[in-house]
């Protein structure tokens, strides 16, 4: 009985960690006539790991920027539920984009610093999240002294340091070599499972999308039309064993088919 109560509480707290995102008729136009996204409807559930796939220029990045409130839709609306606190969204860019004059710890603590948290607390929280991405031994190194994979992990730590309820990633590992990318994929998936936040992951790698996500959306070449919206039939625990699994191959073929359609 006690056990069940504890379990229920854990599930509840996991659910409350994420947010749902509701897009209704979202439209975005560039330079007055180039329609990047023409009326998109999409609901992303609380705690979901969604991969958004599509060719370059299909509006994937624009979509993420609008969800992060870094750009406004020209029409339609984007609702985050529950509305909650101001800084519940984190963004990971295509490259690490660290501040070269700050060491690893100060880079990871930056969001908390901007939000006005005191130095001892923010350093402690940054240290904890850097430990989770395996960078505890590199705290006082500078970005120029790190490998590409390490820089990306700092970038991930910087995004996670505020314990966001919504994590947006814009082709974050595209510039890395495959082995490093495999490691980071596994780590990201673990972090998501531990924290229960909602993740939207934009990529043009079919294998990465299938490996990471619970649900994948394939966008068409123009206007952000949704060509496929699929719940992936894969085990919850994803590790490198899965990479050779026929079920993963099947999902990849389905996604690829939708892209090439």
């Amino acid at each position: 009985m006690l056990h069940e109560v504890g379990h229920a509480r854990r599930v509840t707290s996991t659910i409350s960690r994420g947010v749902a995102v509701q897009l209704e008729g979202v439209r975005r136009v560039f330079d007055h006539n180039h329609v990047v996204i023409a009326g998109m409807d999409l609901r992303i559930e609380t705690g979901e790991f969604l991969a958004v796939l599509g060719p370059s220029g299909c509006g994937k990045s624009t979509l993420l920027r609008m969800i992060a409130r870094l750009a406004e839709p020209d029409a339609g609306q984007i609702r985050i539920e529950p509305k909650g606190e101001r800084f519940q969204t984190a963004f990971v860019f295509q490259d690490a984009h660290l501040l070269p004059w700050r060491n690893v710890l100060a880079n990871a603590a930056l969001p908390l610093e901007l939000m006005g948290e005191a130095k001892p607390e923010r350093d402690e929280r940054a240290r904890a999240v850097l430990e989770q991405v395996g960078l505890l031994e590199a705290l006082d190194r500078y970005p120029a002294e790190l490998s590409g994979g390490m820089r990306m992990r700092v970038s991930l730590a910087r995004a996670l340091v505020t314990e966001p309820r919504l994590l947006l990633l814009d082709e974050p590992f595209a510039a890395l070599d495959e082995i490093t990318r495999f490691h980071l994929d596994v780590r990201l998936r673990e972090l998501w499972q531990r924290r229960g936040m909602t993740v939207i992951f934009v990529t043009h790698s079919v294998s990465e999308a299938a490996f990471l996500a619970n649900r994948a959306v394939v966008l068409g070449k123009s206007g952000g039309a949704i060509k496929l919206d699929r719940r992936l039939e894969l085990p919850a625990v994803r590790d490198n064993e899965l990479r050779g699994d026929p079920r993963l191959g099947k999902e990849m073929r389905l996604l690829l088919g939708a892209i090439e359609e």
């Binding site: 920027r65 992060a68 409130r69 870094l70 101001r86 800084f87 969204t89 984190a90 963004f91 860019f93 295509q94 490259d95 984009h97 501040l99 070269p100 004059w101 930056l110 969001p111 610093e113 901007l114 939000m115 500078y142 120029a144 002294e145 505020t162």
Partner: protein, 251 residues
Amino acid sequence: MKKTLLPPLIPLVVVTLMAEFLVREGFVRAYLVPAPSAVLRAMMDSRMELVQALLSTSAGALTGFVMSALTGIAIAVLLSSSRGVQRAFYPYAIFFQTVPLIAVAPLLVIWFGFGIQTVIASAFVASVFPVIANTLSGILSTDPPLRDLFKLYGASPLVTLFKLRLPAALPQVFTGLRVSAGLAVIGAIVGEFIAGGGLGSVVEIARTQQRIDKVFAAVLLASLLGLGLFGLINLLSHLTLRRWHASEQAQ
């Protein structure tokens, strides 16, 4: 260290020896180009006067340069604050740059009198523009994703300026300072031609006395002053930026 010093020393020695030879053998008239040994002798003979002049010019150039650095960065920050401000005032900054200093120098004397103030003003006018232009372009070229990041966490424009835009502009600020250091020395000498004092006066007086050797000695010192300032900026830049770039790391 040896490897970087040796190559530029070779042409110096060769040219000096050639000049000495050409003047001594009468291929070049000594009243047009002095023999290097004569320049050295003039330097030793008038060393007190030259050292005094060098110190005076250094004070003028350095003060003007520091003023340029401070006001130049401040002006660039103001210009970067909005596109409207930039459109309204940047053309005047460029205009300021194109006004020939030598033509303005007499005006400076009228405003600031015969003294170091005019020298400082002249050094300032000559050297402020590169600081403005480079700092401004540095501030404006801040990495857009980083601007997004600051926006995402609700950073105010002032916080973004001091924690992102200005530090990110530092490499370009230093580029501006390097150019402007040399210009400050030129500005100071021009000021001294008109207002008197320092190496400018030494050159001016030695010229009327046909002491070409002394003119060369003063010019040499002025160049060394510019070089010294340049080296100082390089050192500062290296100390500030050494952990930023892999290229600086390798050195």
